[in-house]
């Protein structure tokens, strides 16, 4: 360091010292920026080369995709609207039933997964876990449950449980457990510790600390995350059928594979509407709960 050796030999005036430190700092900042851009450009070049990405192919494929989507939604004519609509949704009851299965799958997985994840989250928060080993092991379990995508869990569970919604429910449950456990643990780690001290001073054990000091503080956040997770799970449940794990996804993938454009369009429309509605309802409920709870607390 030039500035240090300089200050040992002779006193330097503060402006020079400051200028040296400043240019040092700016130089380091510039170096990081250059390094970042070099890494960025190299990875982009590698990515384009490795995936064989070409704008030509994208431009070539876009009209075909547009045509696909247009053909999905070309069933209706103005002159004969209602008859066309009925004709288009010829399998409505069947699809609605499959969609309902998807919804139930998401609901069940959210309930079970949140219960499990919520329980585990108390062991996975550093400030609440009894010892480091418990914390460490719970964290790792939750991480593995979360990092493996839900559809991969579904592929795994198809073997023991067979084709059907059970594999999908278990897959979503495991993913939900991991995701909720991590989010809840973060909430737990940000709580106020005074109520815990109070319970402990009054002679409460660990479970009583959790029940009476932690749960009342974290409940609004838990509920809010749960509604959010429900919306995500509904979306995930719509594609579980792609691998045979139940729900509307099976109807959709068949329609696409057999190039039944109109069926694809109809099923997709139903999925999008459902996801929309659940999303909106979940957001409304979340705002209501958080708003209400903060008014009291």
């Amino acid at each position: 360091m030039p500035s240090e050796t300089a200050s040992q030999t002779a006193p330097m005036d503060i402006v020079t010292q400051f200028e040296i430190a400043r240019s040092d700092y700016l130089g380091r900042k510039r170096m990081y920026l250059v390094l970042f851009w070099v890494a960025f450009v190299v990875s982009l070049a590698l990515a384009v080369w490795h995936s064989g990405f070409s704008i030509v192919e994208v431009v070539d494929g876009l009209p075909r995709t547009t045509e696909f989507i247009v053909r999905m939604y070309s069933a209706l004519t103005i002159e004969n609207f209602y008859a066309d609509l009925i004709d288009w949704f010829w399998g409505f009851e069947e699809w609605l039933d499959a969609l309902f299965v998807s919804l139930l799958m998401a609901f069940l997985a959210t309930v079970i997964g949140t219960t499990l994840g919520g329980t585990l989250s108390f062991y996975a928060s550093r400030n609440l876990a009894k010892n480091y080993a418990v914390y460490f092991v719970t964290r790792r379990i939750l991480e593995i449950a979360r990092t493996v995508p839900d559809i991969v869990w579904a592929l795994i569970f198809i073997y023991p449980f067979g084709v059907g919604p059970v594999a999908g429910i278990l897959a979503l449950t495991i993913h939900t457990t991991g995701a909720q456990g991590k989010l809840f643990a973060e909430v737990n780690e940000n709580i106020d510790h005074k109520p815990i001290d109070g319970i402990r001073a009054a002679g409460g054990n660990w479970f009583e600390e959790i029940r009476f000091a932690v749960v009342p503080q974290v409940m609004p956040n838990f509920i809010s995350y749960t509604f959010w997770r429900l919306a995500l799970n509904v979306q995930a449940a719509t594609v579980m059928g792609f691998v045979g794990a139940g729900g509307i996804g099976y109807e959709l993938i068949n329609a696409v594979k057999l190039l039944y454009f109109l069926d694809t369009g109809a099923i997709l429309l139903m999925i999008i509407c459902t996801v929309f509605l659940i999303d909106m309802a979940s957001e409304k409920l979340r705002h209501r709960i958080i708003g209400k709870e903060t008014l009291i607390g």
Partner: protein, 303 residues
């Protein structure tokens, strides 16, 4: 305010207060009924679901030994002779996520300005762009992947397209929320000193929103990496194809290798994204936190 001692609170006072503020002491009858209704209803729905999907049947409980066999087969993981192929596919996954996130992150910017209330005074356009974004993100990655594969053929490009579409849809919403939350004062300052519309955006809006935009784009990169690992299930490139192939052929030990690789890669990307966020987006704050030039100059003065 006069202080109240604990001994002063008599049952009469409590009763009086309870009459005045009943909701502080207990829920109203209507609320209690609602609560009971929700609990009982919820439990009934859960039992209906469990019963409908056969969780109480012999078939469900009989599957657990088979699950044990499956997990036993997973370990030790095998397939190291195909490690080159797996690594190649993982690289393809990362490439898809990277290109998709980059393109989506850039594509979403103009739409985000159209979709924010303070930048787009013409309300129908603002509302329309928001709903457009909602439609893009309402379907799952796999659904878009499936459509693009059917229209464009197998390979990583349809996967990249699916990632771009969903990334754009989500980022339009996130970006426009960031743009709507900006401080008006810098904009007023630029307008007052004679800045035009472009200058307002360049010097008033972008410095405020850029860190949030980058942070959101990075967050989506993490999410897209997870998605890119599974897009191969519908034939849209990446490791997902090999994984589903092995699982469908009951090659569980090979699948375990791939799953472990996926976990490592997803962790790596999460870590990288966290570091990038710290270093570049909040870079100044972090650097100044432990390395302030002024403080160091002052410390050297004291010596």
């Amino acid at each position: 305010m006069s202080s109240v001692k604990l001994a002063d609170i008599t049952p009469e006072i409590i009763a009086k207060d309870r009459e005045r503020f009943p909701r502080v002491f207990s829920l109203t009858v209507a609320d209690q009924c609602l609560r009971w209704f929700l609990w009982v209803g919820g439990v009934l729905v859960i039992f209906y679901c469990l019963n409908r999907f056969g969780f109480f049947s012999e078939r469900f409980w009989g599957a657990f030994p088979r699950m044990g066999i499956m997990f036993a087969q997973m370990f030790p993981p095998t397939g190291f002779d195909q490690l080159g192929e797996y690594t190649n596919a993982i690289g393809e996954t990362l490439a898809m996520a990277f290109i998709g996130s980059l393109a989506g992150g850039i594509l979403a910017i103009p739409f985000a300005f159209l979709a924010s209330k303070n930048m787009m005074p013409f309300r129908p356009v603002q509302f329309g762009t928001r709903r457009f974004a909602d439609i893009l993100r309402a379907s799952d990655y796999l659904i878009w992947g499936l459509i693009f594969v059917r229209a464009m053929g197998l390979g990583p490009i349809p996967g990249i397209m699916a990632i771009i579409v969903i990334d754009t849809g989500i980022l339009i919403t996130l970006y426009s929320e960031a743009i709507e939350n900006i401080d008006r004062k810098p904009i007023d300052g630029i307008k007052a000193s004679g800045g035009g519309r472009l200058e307002v955006i360049r010097y008033g809006v972008i410095p405020q929103v850029l860190p949030v935009l980058l942070s959101n784009a990075l967050y989506m990169f993490e999410s897209n990496t997870r998605a890119a690992t599974i897009l191969g299930i519908v034939g849209a490139g990446g490791i997902g194809f090999l994984l589903s192939d092995n699982l469908r052929a009951f090659e569980f030990s090979n699948a375990a290798t791939i799953i472990i690789m996926i976990i490592i890669v997803v962790y790596g990307i999460d870590y990288l994204s966290k570091r990038l966020r710290e270093r570049f987006i909040y870079g100044d704050a972090v650097l100044q936190g432990h390395d302030r030039p002024m403080d160091r100059a002052a410390a050297q003065m004291k010596k």
